[in-house]
């Protein structure tokens, strides 16, 4: 069983400058990775025993003044060694494309759809990148800080749920 420090060290050695930062806020290990190499890093971490992708979170730092507006946070868990690791990626507003990891972890399929639905991240290579929570007529992305949070949008059909019921 490996410990977290040696895994992080290994990642830093192997990926060099792609690992932008590594720290432990509140005791949780966080790796910040460059957008182009995130898939390689995650693939490597999966081989190191992180067999569970718990969730993919999005952050809209519109008012946070960070170097890019958006962040993606992958929460990993290793069942056997009971280790947790977060991988963070900064995503610029101008190009929100991130490579998909839905082929590495099945759970990434819906998690990426949710991140697309709520924030507008585009996961290149995702097999079915459509909205998962909001209805398909929804315009915009609800969890972005510049979306008026109380603005509802009417749905006119049930095509999300039963495509066969909608004849158009």
């Amino acid at each position: 069983m490996k410990d977290l420090d040696s895994i992080i060290e290994q990642v830093e050695q192997r990926f060099g400058e792609a690992v932008e930062a590594s720290d432990r806020p509140f005791g949780d290990a966080v790796l910040t990775v460059g957008r182009t190499r995130v898939r390689d890093v995650l693939s490597h971490l999966k081989e190191q025993g992180f067999d569970l992708l718990l969730d993919i979170g999005g952050v809209d730092g519109l008012h946070l003044g960070r170097r890019e507006r958006f962040e993606l946070v992958y929460n990993l868990y290793a069942l056997e060694s009971d280790l947790r690791l977060r991988v963070k990626v900064f995503v610029p507003e101008s190009d929100m494309t991130v490579p998909t990891v839905s082929d590495l972890w099945m759970s990434a399929n819906w998690a990426e759809r949710e991140a697309y639905d709520m924030f507008g991240f585009v996961f290149a290579g995702h097999p079915n990148l459509v909205r998962i929570l909001c209805h398909r007529e929804f315009v915009g992305h609800a969890l972005r800080k510049d979306y008026p949070i109380m603005k509802g949008q009417w749905a006119t059909g049930t095509s999300d749920l039963r495509p066969d019921l909608e004849r158009e």
């Binding site: 909001c134 979306y147 949070i149 603005k151 509802g152 049930t158």
Partner: protein, 173 residues
């Protein structure tokens, strides 16, 4: 003499006569078959209202049907979001006249505390509602109260007349 609430005339032959409207009205109000459209915790309270302690069958509304074709009372219990709106509308449209709607709980009545992009701020924006029940969630007593209120309403309404003539006649039969 006679059934409570219905004017009857007793004849010497043993027959009783009354008005057809009155009999239909009496039957309607005492045999509401609810369709629970339960999406949240209000549905659990409705289960409490149906089961033995509160016993909604004392008011004739215990025959819960999960088909809009077989029910006359749509009981919307829970949060309705925009994605579910067309589904609720379709269920309502599939019900036969006469049909009644009870909006149960804060969420169905007004969106409750979900004042956000996902939640419809009151189902009366989609379908007509006869009785609103406040509460989060309402106690089963409140459900019984709503059923009684609805029965009083049915008692007063003119019979053998579609409740929404303008809408119903537009649709080809």
């Amino acid at each position: 003499m006679g059934v409570k609430g219905i004017p009857v005339t007793k004849h010497e032959t043993g027959l009783i006569t009354t008005r057809l409207d009155e009999v239909i009205r009496w039957g309607r109000k005492n045999s509401l078959w609810p369709l629970p459209f339960g999406t949240a915790c209000c549905a659990i309270e409705f289960m409490g209202a149906v089961s033995s302690v509160f016993d909604i069958s004392r008011f004739g509304a215990e025959l819960v049907r999960f088909s809009p074709r077989q029910s006359d009372l749509l009981l919307v219990a829970g949060t309705i979001n925009y994605k579910l709106g067309p589904v609720l509308k379709r269920i309502y449209d599939q019900m036969c006249e006469p049909r009644y709607v009870i909006s149960m709980g804060a969420c169905a009545c007004s969106g409750g505390f979900y004042d956000n992009y996902a939640t419809i701020q009151g189902i009366d924006q989609i379908i007509p509602v006869d009785v609103f029940i406040p509460g989060c969630p309402p106690r089963p007593d409140a459900v019984l109260d709503a059923v009684v209120k609805l029965q009083e309403m049915i008692d007063k309404e003119p019979q053998r007349r579609p409740r929404q003539p303008e809408r119903e006649r537009e649709r080809p039969r």
